[in-house]
Amino acid sequence: MKHVTEPAYVRWSLIAVAFLFLGLFLILPLIAVFTEAFKQGAGVFLAAIAEPETLSAVKLTLLVAAISVPLNVTFGIAAAWAIAKFSFRGKNVLLTLIDLPFAVSPVIAGLIFVLLFGSQGVAAPWLAALDLKIIFAVPGIVLATTFVTFPFVARELIPVMEAQGKDEEEAAVSLGASGWKTFWRVTLPNVKWGILYGVILCNARAMGEFGAVSVVSGHIRGMTNTLPLHVEILYNEYQFAAAFAVATLLAVLALVTLVLKSLIEWKTERKSKAEEDYYFDASGEKAG
C-alpha cells in the first residue's frame, strides 16, 4: 500500500510542536497570570479588585464597550448590507476604508485623534468654543476604541451576506414587504449568528485595547483609566499582585470570549450544513 500521508513520526512531531508552542506562549502565561494574582493570598487579590480605582477602571471599560460596540454593530450592518446587496460606485473604496483600522498601528490611530482634537489640534478652537474636551477624557477613549474595533462586525457580515445573495429579499418585496420590514424580518435574522460573532470579537477588542486608548487617555487615575491601562500603571508601580489580579479580569474576558466564539462556530457550522443541503437540493448543478 502507498502512503497517502506523511509517516506517523512526522505527523506526531508536528502536532507536538504545535502544542508545545501553544503551551509556551498561551497556556503558560495564562497560568502565570493566575498564580501571580493569588501569590499573596485571596485577601490581597480581592482587595486589589475592590479598590475604587480598579472599580472605576472596570466601569469605564464597560462604558466604552457599551458605546463603541453598538456603534460598530450599526455601522457594520449598514456597510455590509450596502456592500453585499447593492452595486454602487466607490464600493471598493469603502471596502478598503473598512480595513484601514486593521492596517494602521493602534498608536498611530490614537495619535490621529490627538492631532485632530488635542489642545493643539485642528478642531481645538471649535472644541474650546463649545467647551468640549475629547482628548484625555472619556469621549476620546470611546472614539479611539470605536475606530480600532470598526472592522470587526462589517468584515464578519460581508461574506455571510454576499453568500446569501438577494433572492430572499426579492421574494420578500415581491410579497409586498417594505424595505424596512424586509430588513428586519429577512435580512437580519439570516445573519444573526454572524452579527453575534462580530459583536463578541468586537467587544473583546474594545475591552482589551491598549495602544490607541493609551495615547488619548492621559492616564488620569479613577477618571480615564481603562482596565488594560490600569494594569500597566499598577505594574509600573511594582504592585505586582494587584496588577496580576486586575489582569485576571481581562484573562477571564478572553476565556469567555473564546468559549462563546467556539459555541457560535459550532452552531453556525451545523446551520450552514443544513443550508448547504438545502442549496444542494434546490439547484443540483450549482452545488458542484
Binding site: E170, V173, S174, S283
Partner: protein, 371 residues
C-alpha cells in the same frame, strides 16, 4: 389579468439582454417562455414583476400602465428559480409572510391568516408540514411551498421561473400535471419559464420562443411545432436534419433530391430542414417519378425504446443525417449497419436568406414547397 409587454429593451452595461420585445398574454392563459440559456427569459420575467427596470418600453396589466410601479404595488406572484424560501422561517411562516407584513389596517386577523395558510397547504398537498423548515423538505415540496407563498397574497397573476428546473424527471412530471390542474382550478394567468421544449408543449396553451433577447415566435404548441417561423424555432423544438442546397430555375436542389419552389423565389443558396421521423427509409427506389429520395449508407443503428434511430450518410452529398422509425417498421425492413437504403425526404422545410438584411445574422424565411 392580461399582461402586455410593449417594445421592451433592457441592457446591462454594454450587453443587451432584451431587444424590442413585444408580447401579449391574454387573461387566464398558461403561457410558456421557452428558450436556450441566456436568451433573456428570467430578465423578461423580472421586468414584468418589477424586480428590474427597462431602459425603454412599457408594461401593462389589463391595459393599465405599470412600467414605473414598484414591485410591491404590482401585486405579482413570483416564484424564483431556486425558490428563495425564507430559510429561518418554518413553512407556515413562509406562506403567511405576505399577509403578516401588511400594515395593521390591511392585515387579516391571526385567525384568518391561519385559516388561509392551512387552506393553501391543502391546495399544495403539504398539510402536516407546517412546522418544518425549508431545509427539511424535498425539492418538489419546496417548490410547492414557494407556490403557496406566492398565492397567499392573491396575486394578479403568477410568474414562475423554471419551476421544475432542479427536480428529477418523475417529480417534474407529477408537478406539471399538478400545475395544469391548479391552473384549471384557479383560472389564474400563469407565465412560466422553461428551457425544456417538451415541458412547454405539454403544459402551455401558448408558447413564446425566445432567443438572444428576442421573441422568435408566439403560438400554440401545434403552431410552433408544425409551422416554425424560422430555423431557430425549428431546431429548438426537437431533433432536426439540415441539408444545404440551391434554388435554380424554380427548382430546389438538395444534392440529387429535387423539389418545386413556390413562384417568384429568387435564386441562391437554400437550407432544408427535416425532422428525423419524416425520413422514410426503404430498400428499393420509390415508385413515384418525383426525385425526392436519396441513397444513403447506414452508419449506426440505435434502439431507443419504442423508436429506432438510424444514422445515415448520403451517397450524393456525404451529408450525415438521422432517420427515426417505429420498432415494427424497423423489423420489417431487416437492415443492418453498413447497408445502403433509399430515403425519401418528406415534409421538408426550406429556408432562403431573407433579402431584408437589416439583422446581423442572415434572417431566413420559409419557402413553400411542393413535390
Amino acid at each position: 389579468m392580461s399582461i402586455e409587454v410593449v417594445n421592451i429593451t433592457k441592457s446591462y452595461k454594454n450587453f443587451t439582454a432584451l431587444e424590442n420585445v413585444n408580447l401579449h398574454i391574454p387573461e387566464g392563459e398558461l403561457v410558456a417562455l421557452l428558450g436556450p440559456s441566456g436568451s433573456g427569459k428570467t430578465t423578461l420575467l423580472r421586468l414584468i414583476a418589477g424586480l428590474e427596470q427597462a431602459q425603454q418600453g412599457s408594461i401593462l396589466f389589463n391595459g393599465e400602465d405599470n412600467t414605473n410601479r414598484d414591485v410591491r404595488e404590482r401585486k405579482v406572484g413570483f416564484v424564483f428559480q431556486h425558490y428563495a424560501l425564507f430559510r429561518h422561517m418554518n413553512i407556515f411562516d413562509n406562506i403567511a409572510f405576505g399577509l403578516t407584513v401588511r400594515s395593521r389596517k390591511t392585515r387579516p386577523s391571526k385567525e384568518e391568516i391561519r385559516e388561509k395558510v392551512h387552506s393553501l397547504l391543502r391546495l399544495v398537498q403539504l398539510e402536516g408540514l407546517a412546522h418544518r423548515y425549508p431545509s427539511q423538505l424535498s425539492g418538489g415540496q419546496r417548490q410547492r411551498v414557494a407556490l403557496a407563498r406566492a398565492l397567499a397574497v392573491e396575486p394578479k397573476f403568477l410568474l414562475l421561473d423554471e419551476p421544475f428546473g432542479a427536480l428529477d424527471t418523475k417529480v417534474r412530471q407529477e408537478l406539471r400535471r399538478w400545475l395544469r390542474h391548479l391552473h384549471g382550478k384557479l383560472g389564474l394567468t400563469i407565465l412560466f419559464v422553461t428551457h425544456d421544449q417538451e415541458e412547454a408543449m405539454e403544459l402551455a396553451d401558448r408558447v413564446v420562443v425566445m432567443n438572444e433577447g428576442r421573441v422568435e415566435q408566439v403560438g400554440s404548441p401545434e403552431e410552433i411545432y408544425l409551422k416554425p417561423a424560422n430555423p431557430f424555432v425549428y431546431s429548438f423544438l426537437g431533433r432536426v436534419n439540415l441539408f444545404r442546397g440551391r434554388i435554380q430555375n424554380g427548382r430546389i436542389k438538395l444534392g440529387e433530391a429535387e423539389f418545386t419552389a413556390e413562384q417568384g423565389v429568387s435564386e441562391g443558396p437554400a437550407i432544408g430542414y427535416m425532422r428525423p421521423h419524416d425520413a422514410e427509409v426503404s430498400l428499393h427506389p420509390p415508385q413515384s417519378a418525383a426525385a425526392t429520395a436519396v441513397q444513403a449508407h447506414i452508419e449506426r443503428i440505435t434502439l431507443l425504446g419504442p423508436l429506432v434511430r438510424l444514422e445515415l450518410r448520403r451517397l450524393d452529398t456525404k451529408e450525415v443525417f438521422e432517420a427515426e422509425m417505429g420498432r415494427q417498421r424497423f423489423l420489417e425492413l431487416l437492415v443492418e449497419e453498413g447497408d445502403v437504403v433509399y430515403v425519401t425526404l418528406n415534409n421538408l422545410s426550406i429556408y432562403v436568406e431573407s433579402e431584408l438584411q437589416s439583422v446581423p445574422t442572415p434572417a431566413l424565411t420559409p419557402v413553400h414547397v411542393t413535390v
